[in-house]
């Protein structure tokens, strides 16, 4: 089982961090994982990609992901044409971007928990919650992963991830 996901976001929204959180959660579950940032310049506000691989055996390949099993969209304004099996999108209403699409209002969850830095709503926590749910990774692994990444500052993020994990719906 090798799952490959491409994350589409804007620089500053926490796409790379969400990949790292889910990869760590997968590792804690006993799986193998890779979290890959977009190589080269990343600019605030510009469209950037991050990549996530999860497997039950060691992952040897490290080239870019061309035909992802799943896509994750942090900003619904990022236009997409996908044939992916799985989609996860930050949107209050259902939008179909893949065969099976999970959707949630991650911005609202993040803002409710004051995850706003320098004017940017940071979505890594709620989006990681939605990704973990869609990939069947139990929440307690993600919770531990967020603790590992953020230490004492983790509580607001854990709450956001928990809410996202619970409210995310699919079409």
């Amino acid at each position: 089982m090798l799952l490959e996901l491409t994350i589409y976001c804007r620089g500053g929204q926490g796409g790379v961090t969400s990949a790292k959180l889910v990869a760590t959660a997968a590792m804690l579950k006993g799986l193998y994982a890779q979290a890959i940032p977009q190589f080269g310049p990343e600019r605030r506000g510009a469209t950037v990609n991050a990549y996530l691989r999860i497997s039950d055996t060691p992952i040897r390949r490290r080239s870019s992901i061309k035909n992802p099993y799943g896509i994750v969209v942090f900003d619904r304004k990022i236009a997409l044409n996908s044939t992916a099996k799985l989609g996860i999108i930050n949107s209050p209403d259902p939008i179909k971007i893949a065969e099976k699409t999970y959707y949630l209002d991650a911005t609202r969850i993040a803002e409710k928990n004051s995850l706003v830095y320098a004017g940017w709503t940071v979505l890594s926590a709620p989006m990681s919650g939605a990704i973990a749910k869609a990939l069947d990774i139990e929440f307690h692994y993600l919770k531990e992963a967020i603790r590992m990444e953020l230490g004492e500052k983790a509580e607001k993020s854990i709450e956001s991830a928990r809410e996202a994990y619970e409210v995310v719906l699919w079409t």
């Binding site: 190589f39 992952i59 590992m148």
Partner: protein, 377 residues
């Protein structure tokens, strides 16, 4: 047992005497350096190497690593600083990439010729012009003639293990050791690594000179003195293969100078080095399933060059290079020099993405006898 410190307190969890963590190869190298406890680190930042020395600087700032971090104005000075510190008997480390390696090139010869142990991480990146920050092997092959041991890891685990082995081997044979990792696909890709805590012996080296000693090193040589020194270095570099092979099992069991992947019964052998070998292995598995008898000889070391393993290759041989000299790739030239008639493909220069699908097509052409010297453009 692990004494969990700093980042690792929050990043990892224990698995017996090992801890499993999600780290990039840059971070894994920094963790290995922490364990080796160098006394002097000097470096100048350059993409994609910078996160290695940033992490080390953090360890020093938090008091977890008792080392002097010397900030310098150039890579030439970085290598000069660790040369001086190594002369005085300090365990030393630096890291660089691309133009940084080119800029410190002169000092790389000085430290090797002075027979001083040192470890350097090289995050292999394209050299301009034209400008490019992405991965290929054109920088690290520059070190080929300077008298360094040159290793190339395939993943973060191997980067960690090889860095630890580098300190041991370098101090055993009095030759500096470069640990190579691929830019971004390794340096910035976080993956699962098992960290462990071997005990390295105390620093040792052939000689040392302290500031108060009335002793001059590297004076002008006359007659055959320089030639003799150069011969000794070449011979000892050749023989360092024995130390690398002998200690392989103590540093992760990665195969010594080479990793032989599905080569036992292979009619077709591919020769490569570096992080992209992971994709090549997945492509080889796909071809094996279709009945093609193909395998991979992954060179873990460029110096000492694994001549024995190359000479033992049977059947058809394809060398896939990520650096070139003329139209030929550098490994292609090295393999030919072992008396092997090999086909040679240059690919992936300047970070051009060559993954499983591309390797599958390349290898398919190879077994169908449709590939000769060429560039994968």
């Amino acid at each position: 047992m692990w004494d969990l410190q700093g980042d690792l307190q929050t990043e990892g969890y224990r698995n017996g005497s090992r801890i499993r963590v999600l780290l990039t190869s840059n971070e894994a190298i920094a963790e290995a350096v922490r364990i080796a406890r160098p006394e002097v680190i000097a470096a100048y930042p350059i993409t994609p190497q910078s996160p290695i020395v940033e992490r080390l600087a953090n360890m020093i700032a938090r008091g977890e690593l008792n080392a002097s971090f010397v900030r310098v104005e150039s890579e030439h000075s970085a290598m000069a600083v660790i040369h001086g510190a190594a002369t005085a008997g300090a365990r030393v480390f630096t890291a660089t990439s691309s133009h940084g390696l080119a800029y410190m090139y002169e000092m790389c010869w000085w430290i090797a010729g002075s027979r001083l142990p040192a470890v350097m991480a090289v995050v292999t990146r394209s050299i301009g012009a034209p400008w490019n920050i992405h991965g290929d092997h054109t920088d690290i092959v520059l070190l080929r003639d300077a008298g360094w041991i040159i290793g190339m890891a395939e993943n973060a685990q191997e980067a960690f293990d090889m860095t630890l082995q580098a300190f041991y081997v370098s101090e055993e044979v009095n030759i500096p050791f470069a640990v190579g990792i691929d830019a971004f696909t390794m340096s910035h890709t976080a993956e699962v690594v098992e960290l462990w805590n071997p005990r390295l012996p105390e620093r040792k080296q052939a000689y040392r000179v302290l500031p108060m000693d009335k002793f001059a090193v590297n004076a002008v040589t006359m007659g055959k003195a320089r030639m003799k020194a150069r011969y000794d270095l070449a011979l000892d570099l050749e023989n360092s293969a024995n130390v690398i092979e002998r200690t392989d099992k103590d540093f992760g069991n990665h195969g010594g100078l080479v990793e032989k992947y599905r080569l036992e019964d292979a009619d077709y052998a591919v020769v490569m080095m570096g992080g992209w070998c992971g994709d090549a292995k997945d492509a080889i598995d796909a071809l094996r399933e279709e009945g093609y008898k193909i395998g991979l000889l992954r060179l873990r070391f460029l110096r000492p060059f694994p001549k024995k393993a190359v000479k033992e290759l049977g059947g058809d041989v394809l060398v896939v290079d990520r650096s070139n000299s003329d139209l030929r790739g550098v490994l292609g030239i090295e393999v030919s020099a072992c008396g092997i008639e090999a086909r040679n493909l240059v690919a992936g220069i300047g970070g051009v993405d060559v993954g499983v699908e591309e390797f599958y097509k390349i290898f398919k052409k190879f077994v169908d006898n449709k590939i000769d010297l060429g560039w994968y453009l």
